[in-house]
Each structure stands twice: as C-alpha cells, then as structure tokens.
C-alpha cells in the first residue's frame, strides 16, 4: 500500500484507451465498474475530443458480483460489435474486474465473433499507463500484422503516436514533412489514425520509426524479430537529435547523405543571437517521461547552453536510460512517481527554470519558479490549436519559444535589477509579458529570521535588492555558506562573500 496524492500516470487500462481512441474502427470492451467511465473525459476534455472514446464499459455493480458479471461482459461485447461494427475488438479488465477474474479473453472467444478479438492482460496492481499503451499496441500488432510484399520504394511506418500523447498529432505532421524531404515514403502511421485493417499492412514498409519508445518499443522489437524490420532509436526532438535521427534513417536505408530542408529552422540562430547570452548557465531541472527528458536534456545542454542541475523520470521502465544520462551530466537522477518527492527535489535545487509536466508546473507555481511543459501528463492549455510540434525543425522552433517564454530575458533582467524601487518595475512584477505571474518566492522567502541563522537588517535589505528570481537561491546559498563557515549571523559582507564563493 502506498499513499498517493497526485499521479503522473493512470492505470494501464487508460493506456489501452489511449491506443484504442487513437485508432479507427477498433472497439474496446472494458470490464469495469461505472466510476471508471471518468476516463472518457480525459479525451473529450483535455484533448477536446469530438467523439466518444470507442470504449464500452460493462459497469457491473455489487449486485452483479458472482455469476452475473460474466454474462454482462458477453452481452456488452455482442452489443458493442453490433452497434459500432468494428474491424477488431479489444477486451480487457480494469483493476476491479481483474480481482473478480472473469477472463474477458475467454468470454469474448466463446462468442465466436466474426472479427478478431484481442485480449489484453493489464496488471493494474503492478503496472501503469505507459505500460498499457506499449502492451496494447504490441498485442494489436502481434494479432494483426502478417507477411506482405515490401513497397517498391523505401518506406517506413511511424509507430507510437497515441491519443493524449504530448503533441503527438503535430509531431506526426512535422515528421511527414521531413520524410517527404528525404524522399522516403510513408507507409502507415499507428496507432494514431490507423484501422485494424491497416495494421495488417505494416509489414509492407522497410523499416519503422519508433517515434516514442514508451508506446511502441515492444511492437518495434517484435516486428524486427519476426519480420526483420529495423527501427530508429533516436527520437528527433531538438536540432542535434533530429540530425542523428536522419543519419540513422540513412544508415538503415543504406544511403550516404540525404537532404532535409531545414531552412525553416530558426532555433540555431536565435540561440546564437546576443539576446540569448542570458541563457548561459541558467540552472534547469528536467522531469517527465524518459523520452522527453532525454531529448530535453540534450537541447538544454548543447543547444541552449543551460546548466542542468537535475533530471528524472516517472516511468520506471526507462530508469536505466535516465540514470546513465544523469551520470554523463554529473547530476543525480530522480526516478519517482511521487509528486512530493519531486517537489522536494526542486525545492532543494532551486533551479531557475523547470522543464516538466503539468505536475511540475504546479510545483513551479508554488515555489515561484518558471516552468515550461515538455511531457505528458499535460493540461488542456498545453494542447494548443496552432501547429506546435516537438519533433523536427519546426519542433525545435516551438521548443525555443516555449522554454524562453517564462523566463525574464535580456535587458529586462538588468532593468529589473536597476530600478528595484520603481513602483511599476518592482520585483514582484515578473516578466512583463506574463501579466499575472506574480512570484510567490518573494512572499514565501520573506521570513528572514531563520531558526539558527540570524540575518542582520542591512543584509536583509541587500537581499531584497537581488532579483527575485534568484533571491531564493541566494538566500539559501548564503545560509549554507554561513553555516559551513561557522557564522551564526549574516551580514552584508557575508552575503557578498557567499556570492563570490558560489560564482559560476
């Protein structure tokens, strides 16, 4: 038993729903009590889905427990097939149904339906949402893919985009453009937009693009083992990762060089331009799903020249990847799905920017630290109407804009420092383009008398002159410095000694 307050991932059947909802002509019968139907609103509200997810819940009740639940399940399958006429049927159990052990697969089989039935084993008490997507997509591919003649021209499938994935819809569009540039044919995108009948044709392609390992690694591996289809392992998010991805595709395809038109890429110049000087060494903390964290780390380090103070992911399946990356970056990896633990780490590290999920945005709000969202889980406001991919050249542009948006930039930083007493330009103002982003840091950290260490009034005054977005860190560093050097009171001089000590 583990106390959980906010969770990064839903149960595995929500992962299965993300696959089913992304696809066409597929229906999912989920053995579950009525409350589990809340999952529909994830799709209809967060992604503003204009269709109901293709899911029939059996909604059994206490009075059905015993003999009746199995019949209920069979009835639901029959009715769903009649009403929705899918090309294939997924069947599975939610956490409660898992306990009553009705065996959805066996029950559905006994119905002798005319369409393929794909049973899912989703261990709710061990695994989570991302496992659910990966496993479900794999089971679908395994059940439906069959040998096909290859397309004449070199072609690939894009595997991994699902419903409720962070920018998946737009990533596919950008990737299509890149493939087009490279003169590579696209066979099938799946699960997003694919019907069971198109899954049959996956094997016409020569190779697979594993766009998100979280939702397609099992399928990619299986297709490699059984159909000899190679797959890409680089996720093309960020300039350098996109280049590596293209290089990887070239290798698979056996061509030396190929042309990808990156004339629409602005990120590289934007990052070199003088205004961006101020990003140098900005301390960032990165947390989310492993794929987005790994790509974001590379962008942060190589393409923004930020200084990474910590990274981590919530999906344990990729813990090893994140641990080794952290080692390379000489920071500690945090592998956790405990929101409070992440909050504590961020509070300890006091970064200047958080790159995270909507959970970290909440943490950032509380701690007064700006945050840009780079990973699911996300909020309706992170699902914009405009084209805003993460992948490829345009994705890189979007990332630059998104990360820079919450920061105080360029000369503005100086002006805030110079005119600290100006009533309009005071330090609770925040970046001028974010009208309501009042910093909480300044309020929370105002209590200057700590238990052990006393701040002299003139040091307190001086501390207030430090720009608010680094004040928390300055205060903490000074106290640490004072403590380590055996001072019990902080004077103005000590403040500056500490500043010199921690100068980067």
């Amino acid at each position: 038993m583990k106390l959980s307050i906010w969770t990064y991932e839903g149960p595995p059947h929500v992962g299965a729903m993300r696959v089913a909802t992304a696809m066409e002509k597929l229906h999912f019968v989920l053995h579950a009590p009525q409350g589990d139907t809340y999952a529909d609103l994830l799709f209809t509200m967060i992604e503003r889905g204009n269709k109901r997810p293709p899911v029939t819940y059996t909604t059994f009740q206490a009075r059905d427990l015993g003999a009746d639940t199995a019949d209920l399940f069979k009835k639901a399958c029959k009715e769903a097939v009649e009403r929705f006429m899918p090309e294939a049927l997924l069947v599975g159990a939610s956490c409660t149904a898992e306990l009553i052990q009705d065996d959805p697969g066996g029950l559905a089989d006994a119905l002798n339906l005319e369409i393929p039935v794909i049973p899912l084993e989703l261990p709710s008490y061990q695994r989570k949402e991302n496992f659910g997507t990966d496993e479900t997509f794999y089971q679908i591919v395994k059940a439906l893919a069959c040998p096909q003649e290859k397309t004449e021209k070199f072609s690939v499938n894009i595997l991994g985009p699902t419903a409720l994935g962070f920018r998946h819809r737009d990533d596919v569009r950008e990737l299509k453009t890149i493939l087009d540039d490279l003169n590579i044919d696209l066979n099938i995108v799946a699960p997003l937009g694919a019907a069971p009948s198109s899954i049959k044709s996956l094997t016409k392609a020569h190779a697979n693009v594993m766009l998100y390992p979280e939702s397609s690694e099992l399928a990619c591996r299986w297709l490699k083992e059984n159909f000899g289809m190679s797959y890409t392992e680089h996720t093309p998010i960020g300039i350098n990762s996109t280049k590596d991805f293209i290089e990887e595709l070239n290798q698979i395809r056996g061509v030396r060089d190929s042309f990808s038109d990156n004339s629409r890429l602005n990120f590289d110049w934007w990052s070199k331009s003088v205004d961006s000087n101020y990003f140098t060494g900005k301390r960032v903390f990165i947390f989310g799903d492993a794929t987005h964290v790994a790509t974001a780390s590379r962008i942060a380090k190589e393409e923004m020249a930020f200084s990474i103070v910590g990274i981590g992911c919530y999906n344990r399946e990729y813990a090893r990847k994140i641990r080794s990356l952290a080692k390379d970056l000489s920071v500690e990896a945090l592998i956790s799905d405990d929101y409070l633990e992440v909050e504590k780490r961020i509070a300890d590290l006091q970064p200047e920017l958080i790159l995270g999920s909507q959970m970290e945005r909440h943490i950032g709000k509380r701690l007064g630290i700006p945050c840009a969202v780079i990973s699911a889980p996300f909020h309706v406001q992170d699902h914009p109407a405009r084209f805003s991919p993460q992948v490829g050249w345009e994705g890189a542009n979007v990332i630059f804009d998104t990360w820079v948006h919450p920061l105080v930039m360029g000369l503005e930083e100086h002006l805030l420092g110079m005119f600290r007493e100006d009533f309009e330009f005071n330090d609770t103002a925040g970046p001028s383009h974010l009208s309501n982003s009042k910093s909480k840091l300044s309020e929370e950290k105002e209590t200057i008398v700590d238990n052990e260490i006393i701040w002299a009034p003139e040091a307190t005054k001086e501390l207030k002159k430090i720009p608010f977005f680094v004040r928390g860190k300055a205060k903490r560093n000074t106290e640490k410095f004072a403590f380590e050097n055996g001072h019990s009171a902080i004077t103005k001089d000590l403040l500056y000694e500490a500043k010199a000590h921690y100068a980067r």
């Binding site: 589990d36 909604t59 009740q61």
Partner: protein, 424 residues
C-alpha cells in the same frame, strides 16, 4: 418509447411511469464527492483505500490540482496487499500513522472504501474501529464506501454523512438540522432566513469541522438541502429525528416552498413568513423574469448524473418555462423527490439508471435545445450539433436559494447565448 417493457409505475400519489434501464452507465462513482467534501469539512482527511484508478479519478474529476497537498489521498493497493489480508491491515495502519504524523491538523479521518477494497473484502469498519482506539479523542476515525459498485457520484456524500450520524452527540434539546453540504455562502443565507423566521437552534450536517457537527435528539427535525441523501435520511430517522419533506430550494418557487414547509412544521405565522421572504422573493423573481425570455419553450434533456435532475427539471419547467423531454436520474428515491415531481406538469420521460447508447439514441432523436450531461459526453454531443450543459457544474456552483436563482438559470442561458453569438 412505449414499447419499452421495463416501464414501471411509480405507485402512491404520483402515478408516473419510470423508464428503468440497466445498461452501460456513464456516471462517476461516489468517490467523486470527496472533491467537495474535503473543502467543506475543514479538519477532515479522506483516505481512499483503492487502486491507481481511484487516485486517477479523483485527480481527473477535480479537473485542476489547485491544492498543494489536499486533504485527500489514495492508499493504493499493490500486488502484495492482495495476497494476504492481515498484511493489508498492517499496511493501512502504517499509512495512517504516517499521515496523521505529517498532518496534525487532521481531526477527522474518513477511510473510504472503493471497488477493489470491497471486492477483496477489506473490512474498513473494522479498521476504523481499531484506529479509533489508537487515535481517539484526538482524531475521530470513520468509514464509508464511495465505490462504483455500490454508489454513484453524489451517493458518496450520502454515505459520508450517513457515517457521521451515529457519532452525533445526543441531547434532549429541540433543533432543526439542515442536511447536505452547500457552499458556505449559500448555507449562511439559508440559515439566516430560517433564523429570521424565529427558529433559534439551527445546525448543519456536515458541520464545517468536528466542533460544529450538529447534536441530535428525539425532538430534532431535519430538512434536506440535497436530494441524494437517502441513507443519511434513514440514519437520522433511526436516531429519532423527523424529516420535514419539501421541494428542494432551487429557484424562487422552490426556495419559498422549502421555507414554507419549515414554517408550517413550526407553526410560524403567515405574516412573519411574508416579512422574512418577500424581499428576497421579489429579487429572485425579477432576476428570473429577465432570463426567462431566453429559456421559454426551449427543450431540455437530462442525462443521469447527480440526482439533482428532478428538482432542477421542476425549476426549469415551472420557473423558466422550459419543456422537459427526458429527465434521467441515476437513482430515484420517491419519498425524497415526490414533492418536486408532483409539481411537474406535462410529465416528460422519467428514467432511472442508464443504458448510455440507447439514451444517446433517444437524445439525438429528440434533438433538444439543451442537453445536460457529463463531461465525457458534452464535447462529442456538441460536435454533433447539440448544445450542452455540463452536469458537474450544477454540483460545483452555488445554485440553491433565492440569491442564486439567477445564477442557476444563467447556467442554462449561457450555452444557448453562446450558440447564438458564435458566427463561425
């Protein structure tokens, strides 16, 4: 619709046919009530013993995670808890110990059962008793079920309040208890009005904290402010309190009839009643008059959600001039909603339970001007061209009483207005 064989007559005074359905439901489970209960009862913590699904429901149904560390959480059962029972109880004790140590502000702890905890027969009443022995009097430990196999949506609050009733202090004083949680501002307004009628001893269940929970006696009277409180009603009656039955206080008419039932029960004079109610009545009437033009003759279809449907349908048809097509409710307790039901003229289809696909068929067929439904259905129906109102908003917004009559009507006016205003 007549070919449905499962139409039953509601016996007794209202000879009204009810369409009973038992198919797929699209309604939250009782755990959802925790989202408002934990704000209402300010020294309580709600510890769900359940699965990752339960935790995910609470976080998703809440919509936004505004509370840093809210006063609810889920003890998520894991594989090892499912293996042996003794284990699960020990684990629970440990989690509770940690929690109470970290949150010394907690004075009442509710252990909330879920589908998984019920299916594995984890006895939470036993656990509550055991934990009470350890933590009482500092913390009162209670338990109720919010599971989806036992409760729908608002029945979670019913179960919670029912669990509180046996713990209410016994006195022999007379008092009037308002039952059901309301936004504080609305609660204060209603209490104020009743006080002005001359009733002194008024209490509210649930109280805002442990210290303000009502006391109860054989002379207590109570009146519901929410229609979904079947078990709570029973529990209160078992303790000897008597219920004043009334239509629910929605709109000008509803609030007046509700107050009048109290007036009659206490033998308060007509004059006094006039003096107290005339001003707010006039205000509410005036405000509704303005909105009525937008709603007059518009048709409305209710999907089952909160059990507020019948009283709200009464308000919309009688006070706003709307035409009811179907009024669906997850569960209908006649003895509680009869007073509202009796007032509805032109009886629409009243349905209980749900078979969501069939109901969607009926809804599309009748193409209502406005459809009241859950968040899972709203956007898909909008995309089909229907205008919808999120049912959950009716639970989260202050809508009871005179001063909110206008807000309640506005909730229905807004989507219609928007539809008219948009030109895309």
């Amino acid at each position: 619709m007549n070919e449905h064989s499962n139409i039953e007559k509601l016996g007794g005074c209202s000879e009204i046919p009810v369409l009973k359905e038992r198919g797929q439901r699209e309604v939250f489970c009782g755990l959802t009530g925790i989202i408002w209960l934990h704000r209402k009862i300010q020294d309580a913590f709600f510890l769900v013993v359940g699965s990752r699904t339960c935790a995910h429901l609470l976080q998703s149904a809440a919509g936004v995670m505004i509370f840093a560390e809210p006063r609810f959480g889920t003890a998520i059962l894991e594989e090892k808890d499912l293996a042996g029972m003794a284990d699960a109880h020990e684990e629970l004790d440990r989690e509770v110990a940690n929690l109470l140590e970290r949150r010394p502000d907690i004075k009442q702890l509710f252990l909330v059962g879920s589908c998984p905890s019920e299916v594995i027969k984890l006895d939470l009443s036993n656990a509550a008793e055991r934990l009470s022995k350890i933590y009482f009097p500092k913390v009162k430990v209670l338990n109720f079920s919010g599971s989806g196999i036992e409760t729908t949506f608002t029945q979670g609050e019913d179960a919670c309040l029912a669990s509180l009733v046996p713990t209410l202090k016994e006195t022999d004083e007379e008092n009037l208890i308002l039952v059901g949680s309301l936004p504080d501002i609305v609660e204060d307004q209603l209490v104020e009005l009743i006080k002005e009628l001359g009733i002194k001893e008024i209490a509210v269940l649930p109280g805002r904290d442990r210290g303000t929970m009502p006391s109860i006696s054989k002379k207590s009277k109570f009146i519901l402010v929410q229609p979904f409180l079947t078990d709570t009603t029973e529990a209160l009656e078992k303790r000897g309190a008597s219920r004043i039955s009334a239509p629910f206080p929605f709109g000008e008419e509803g609030t007046t009839l509700w107050l009048r039932s109290i007036k009659e029960s206490y033998g308060i004079s007509d004059d006094k009643f006039e003096i107290v109610t005339s001003a707010p009545r006039k205000r509410a009437k005036l405000a509704l008059e303005k909105l009525r033009t937008s709603l007059q003759s518009k048709t409305v279809f209710f999907f089952p959600d909160s059990q507020l449907e019948i009283p709200l349908a009464r308000f919309l048809s009688r006070e706003c001039g709307m035409k009811l097509i179907e009024v669906g409710s997850p569960y209908i307790n006649r003895s509680i909603v009869d007073k509202d039901l009796e007032l509805i003229e032109d009886m629409p289809v009243i349905s209980e339970g749900q078979d969501v696909d069939l109901q969607l068929d009926r809804c599309r067929e009748s193409s209502p001007d406005i459809t009241v439904c859950g968040l899972g259905l709203a956007n898909p129906l909008e995309a089909e061209g229907l205008t919808t109102k999120w049912a959950i908003e009716l639970v989260f917004t202050p809508i009871h009483g005179y001063e909110q009559a206008q807000d309640l009507a506005e909730l229905f006016v807004r989507p219609l207005k928007r539809k008219e205003a948009l030109f895309i």
